[in-house]
Amino acid sequence: MKARSFWTVSVLTALAWGHAGAAEGVDWSGYVSLEPRFFPHSPQFPGQPGSGMSPSAVFAPEMRLAWNDGDDRLTFAPWARWDADDAERSHLDLREASWLRVRGPWTWRLGLGRVFWGVTESRHLVDIVNQSDRVEDVDDEDKLGQPMIAVERWTPAGTFGVFLLPGFRERSFPAPDARLRGPLPIDTDRAQYESGAGDRRVDWALRWSDAIGNWDLGMSAFRGTSREPRLLAAIDDGNRAVLIPRYDVITQVGIDAQYTEGAWLWKLETLARRGHGGTIEALVAGFEYTLFNVREAAADLGLLVEYLYDDRDQTAPPTIYDDDLFLGFRLSLNDTDGTAVLGGAVVDGNGSLAVLEVERRLGDVWKFEAEVRWFLGVDADESLLAGFRDDSFVTLRVSRYL
C-alpha cells in the first residue's frame, strides 16, 4: 500500500476518534517489550552482523473506543519496532485502525485490520487477507494491517462475509546486510506487479464459516494480488545479483475443517490457486491430541502431527512445505504464571526448521518469552533454506503490558 493511502486511513481514524470523543471512554491495552535476538553462528554472507546479541524493542499500544452500547467501536493499534542491526526491521505499522459496526446479525468493518482464517498450526495455508510482516519472524504469524471494507452476516446456516481489499501491502524482508535475508539481497524498491494498477488494485475475498456439531468448517475464495511474491533474479546498479519480488494476480479457493472429539482435534486445510503459471494444489492435514492433567500434575500435554503437501513448481513463489511432516508438542503447566512450552519441527530430507517457544508471566503485568528458530541439517546446495543455515537464532522477550 502506498504511504499516502496508509496515512489517509490514519487521519480518517484520528478524525473519527475526535468525533466519537466523549463517548464511553477509551480502553487501553498493548505492551512494550525489549527483545534481544542472539545469533550463535558466524554469518554466511559478507556484510551481515557477526555472531552475538542483536538488540531490539517493540512498542505496541492499542486504544479502543466504544459507543452505542459497544455496537460501534474504533480501534487504533500502531506498531513500532526498533532494531539495532536491521534497517528494514526497524519499522512502523498500523496493525489496526478501524471502525467496527455491529447491527444484529450484521458486522461491518472499515479501515485497517487483521483477519485470520484456518485451523492448522504448522502452516496457515488459507489465511490470505493480510500480508506477512516477514521482518518480524519466519513463522508468518505477524501480519501487516490490511485496508478493508468488510461485511459479515451471521445466519443459522453459517456466517457469510464479503471483503473488499483496496490497496496492497508489500511483504517486508530483512535488509540486504541483515541476518535472515536469505541467499541474495531482496530489492523491494523494484517490486513488480502483474496488475496494471500496481499496489492499488482492489482485491476481494469471500468467506463462509460455521460450527456444525463436532465440525468447524470454513470455505474461502480470493481474487487479487498474491501475498506471496515470486523472487526474480536480477542485477542491481552496482552490478550485484539481487532478487526482485514479483506479485502475480491469483485466484484461490480454500477449505478449512476441524473435527473435535474427546481429546482429539483433526485438522485440514487445503487450497487450489491459479495465477503463478500452472495450478497449485496444497494441503495441511493432521491432528492434535491432548493428554489432560498429566500424572495428576495439572499439566496438559498436546501432541501435534501435520502432513504438508504443496505441488507448486519452480515458476511459483518458493515454499519449503512441498512434502513434509511437522511434529510438535504443546505443554501447558496450568500454573498461576501461565507457563507454557511449544516445540516442533518441519522434518524434511534436505533441511529442517525447528522451533521452541517458552512463555511465563512475571507477576500481573510482566511476561517473559524465549523463542528459538533453528535450521537443522540444511544441504548447502539444494534447499531453499541454504541461505539461512547460519541464521539460527534465539529471541528473549520481556514485555510490560499496559
Binding site: 484456518g118 451471521w154 463436532n214 476441524q258 498461576t336 504464571d337
Partner: protein, 269 residues
C-alpha cells in the same frame, strides 16, 4: 442442574412451598431422593434467561503470594429444554490475556463444545472439551467446577439432613457420569429452604478430599434467583486458594443464542 455452577449457579426463591416439602419429604431410595433435590435446585433456577456479571478471581499461593484475574461472564439459559446453557468469559486481566475469550456450549447428552479466542492472532479455535479436570487459568477451579452442570451429568445419593451454619441442609453425594472428570465424587450441602448450595467438597479420583468450595453473600435477583457473590475454593492438597468476587448481576439483558456463536468471538472487541 447447576448446583456447582459458578456464575450460572442459580436458585430461585419463590418456589412452591408444597413442591419443596414434597421433595424434602419424599419417600423412596436415597438415590431417588438425591436426584429429586437436584431437580428442584434446577427447577427453581429455570427462567433466568441470561445474565452478565463482572468477576475478580484472586489466586493465593501456599506462601501467600496473590495473583488477580478479572473477567466478564455472560450466561444464556438453554433455549431448548434438554440442552445445556451457554457461557462466554472474556478476560481483562492478567493484561497479557486481555481480550482472550472462552465460549462454552454445555450439552446434556453429549460432550460440551468449547472455543477459545486469541486476540493477538484474531483466531477462533475450537478446543478439546475433554479438559474437564484441567485448572482454569491456573486457579483452583477446574473447568468442570465452573461450567453449567446439568442434572443428567451426575448420579446422586441423599446421605442425610444436617445443619450447615445457621441453616438446615440436605447432604448429597454426587458422582460425575461424564468422561474426563477429575473427581470420584462430590459432597454437596444444599440449603433446605432456598435450595441453593452452601458448600461443596471435591474428592479426587483416588477419593481423597482435594478441595472445598464455600458459597457466601447470597443475594436475590428478580425476586426469584439467588446468586452467591463470594466463593472461596480451598485446595487442601496444595495449600492454595482461589477467591471469586462477583459484581452486581444483570439479568435478562437481551442476549440471544447468536451472541454465543463462535463466529461472534471475532467481533467482541
Amino acid at each position: 442442574m447447576r448446583i456447582a455452577t459458578i456464575v450460572v449457579l442459580p436458585l430461585c426463591l419463590i418456589a412452591s412451598v408444597l413442591g419443596a416439602e414434597r421433595t424434602a419429604g419424599a419417600a423412596g431410595s436415597p438415590a431417588d431422593r438425591g436426584r429429586e433435590i437436584a431437580e428442584e435446585v434446577d427447577r427453581r433456577d429455570a427462567g433466568f434467561g441470561d445474565s452478565v456479571v463482572g468477576l475478580v478471581m484472586t489466586l493465593t499461593s501456599s506462601d501467600g503470594r496473590e495473583r488477580r484475574r478479572r473477567l466478564t461472564w455472560r450466561t444464556l439459559e438453554a433455549a431448548v429444554p434438554g440442552d445445556g446453557d451457554r457461557s462466554l468469559a472474556v478476560f481483562h486481566e492478567p493484561r497479557d490475556m486481555e481480550g482472550t475469550a472462552f465460549l462454552t456450549h454445555t450439552h446434556v447428552d453429549r460432550e460440551d463444545d468449547q472455543w477459545l479466542y486469541l486476540p493477538s492472532l484474531k483466531r477462533v479455535k475450537r478446543i478439546a472439551s475433554a479438559n474437564k479436570s484441567s485448572a482454569f487459568v491456573g486457579s483452583d477451579f477446574a473447568y468442570e467446577d465452573l461450567l453449567s452442570d446439568e442434572v443428567e451429568k451426575f448420579d446422586y445419593e441423599w446421605l442425610r439432613d444436617e445443619s450447615c451454619g445457621s441453616a438446615q441442609c440436605f447432604l448429597i453425594d454426587r458422582r460425575p457420569r461424564y468422561a474426563g472428570s477429575g473427581y470420584a465424587r462430590q459432597l454437596v450441602w444444599i440449603d433446605q429452604k432456598e435450595f441453593r448450595p452452601v458448600r461443596i467438597e471435591y474428592y479426587d479420583r483416588r477419593n481423597r478430599h482435594q478441595k472445598t468450595l464455600m458459597f457466601e453473600e447470597y443475594r436475590l435477583y428478580l425476586g426469584r434467583f439467588w446468586r452467591a457473590h463470594l466463593m472461596r475454593m480451598d485446595n487442601h492438597q496444595t495449600g492454595k486458594a482461589t477467591l471469586l468476587s462477583f459484581s452486581e448481576f444483570d439479568f435478562q439483558t437481551g442476549l440471544t443464542p447468536q451472541d454465543f456463536e463462535p463466529d461472534v468471538l471475532r467481533r467482541l472487541r
